[in-house]
């Protein structure tokens, strides 16, 4: 059994949360540049240039890329030969969240659903766990903004809707989202599982690097078809019209009940902030 001290986890996760707020990933920057080459609308190009400039300012001056620094979402892959010494893993992640959002002057966006009273420290974090083989602990952090999360949906299709029904629903969702989720967006699609599982794998799909092809050829083709249709919608950067409405589409699929075809569309804005932390 390998043991990792509670504090080591907390400190490393805290540092990663801060970095994610200020530094746009290389895949995202490359995505912006590719988009700039393909964009035909002058206004669309202007917006993309602003986003590139925004990322440069954020990195240099350590100002958050976006004022919505999100809810803190964690995906934990915990080896069966690892244990946390000196405390509970969820406590370490929540404490890291609290300290990072406080010390790096990030916005606290967690509140009571009824009273809307802010919890004051951006906790509780949203944490998903997977147990895997081995003695490693892998944590993925993602800061999820509300604007794009609000445009996401889960639906239970009928099996006869098939691939066409899935693709139509995803494209329609992006169409109805219009300028709200800060296009160019990244679209995570979860197919199968159960109602909640579809949503979870759709969110996991958002963690795939922008521009990465799906290893499953059937899903890769579907991603390409959906991306093409989304970019034909004309919404464009900032919703001000243009060719590039989405930077990428990622699909994940799992078996489902013989009676069902669960489908989730999780939209992420271009301010796609995540970090990988290995122990």
């Amino acid at each position: 059994m390998r043991s990792i001290p509670y504090n080591t986890i907390k400190e490393k996760v805290k540092a990663a949360i801060m970095e994610a707020a200020f530094i746009a990933g290389e895949d995202l920057m490359a995505g912006f540049k590719r988009a700039l080459e393909q964009e035909e609308s002058p206004l669309g190009k202007e917006i993309l240039n602003q986003l590139i400039e925004n990322a440069e300012i954020a990195r240099k001056e350590r100002i958050p890329l976006c004022q919505d620094t999100g809810l803190a979402v964690f995906f934990v892959e915990m080896g069966d030969e690892v244990k946390v010494e000196g405390g509970l893993l969820p406590d370490a992640l929540n404490e890291a969240t609290k300290e990072a959002y406080g010390e790096a002057y990030l916005r606290k966006s967690a509140c009571n659903p009824f009273t809307r009273k802010n919890t004051g420290d951006n906790t509780p974090a949203i944490i998903h766990y997977d147990i895997v083989k081995g003695d490693k602990l892998h944590i993925t952090f993602c800061a999820k903004g509300g604007g794009s999360e609000n445009m996401s949906r889960v639906t239970m299709l009928t099996p006869s809707d098939g691939k066409k029904g899935i693709e139509d629903f995803v494209v329609q969702r992006v169409w109805e989202a219009e300028a709200n989720p800060c296009p160019p967006v990244i679209v995570g699609v979860g197919i199968g599982g159960t109602f909640e599982r579809a949503a979870l794998i759709a969110k996991k799909a958002l963690l795939e690097p922008i521009g990465k092809k799906n290893p499953d050829p059937e899903l890769a083709e579907m991603e390409e078809r959906i991306l093409k249709r989304i970019n034909n919608l004309g919404i464009g950067p900032g919703g001000l019209g243009g060719r590039i409405t989405a930077l990428d589409v990622h699909v994940k699929m799992e078996p489902c009940h013989i009676a069902s075809l669960p489908l989730a569309v999780n939209i992420n804005c271009h301010s796609s902030r995540h970090a990988e932390i290995d122990f």
Binding site: Q67, Y105, R107, G147, G234
Partner: protein, 182 residues
């Protein structure tokens, strides 16, 4: 490029057209849905508002906290439809501009036409860039709302684009049409 210096007159916004690029210099106020709800509650109770709405521009933003030595943190627009339920009440009182992102409801657009107000788009997700145009910030009401408190901002050449003008034009709808392929 048009320059707006609040307080803004009705004729100044009536001269604007959807698609016009505008720079704002002077005082603007921030407010999101929680603050809007309180403003409308004050109006319902016949109580004074924390700032003069007549001629004002409201920026829909919940900035990140200001780090030491800076007037404000990251400060880009939030999604505007959440303010749709409240906006017409402020427009009636002479609000001349709203800065946000995303489309507005028909009732808001109607009020804009009727009373003379424009909806200005700022680039969503470019909060670090936009913060550069903010020179001063001060919480003036609803401090308990934290990031959602009402702030008075001094801005210089704050860049926006007219999405909805007072004639019923909508830049989102018109421009998306140009690039839509069947």
């Amino acid at each position: 490029m048009t320059i707006l210096k609040p307080p803004v007159k009705r004729e100044d916004v009536e001269a604007l057209e959807a698609g016009d690029k505008v720079l704002i210099t002077g005082t603007i106020y921030t407010g999101r849905d929680a603050a809007h709800k309180r403003l409308v509650d004050l109006l319902d109770g016949n109580k004074p508002l924390p700032f003069d709405v007549d001629g004002a521009i409201i920026f829909y933003v919940g900035p990140t906290p200001s780090p030491p030595g800076r007037p404000i943190g990251s400060a880009g627009p939030t999604t505007s439809y959440r303010m749709d339920a409240y906006a017409p009440r402020l427009i009636e009182r002479g609000l001349r501009g709203m800065i946000g992102k995303g489309p507005r409801a028909a009732e808001v657009k109607d009020a804009m036409k009727k009373y003379g107000c424009v909806y200005l788009g700022a680039t969503g997700g470019a909060g670090a860039l936009m913060a550069q145009a903010v020179k001063k910030a001060e919480v003036i009401a609803f401090d308990d709302l934290g990031p959602e408190a009402v702030r008075k901002l001094e801005v210089e050449n704050f860049p926006v684009i007219v999405i909805n003008d007072t004639k019923g034009n909508d830049l989102y709808i018109e421009n998306v049409k140009k690039y839509k392929r069947e």
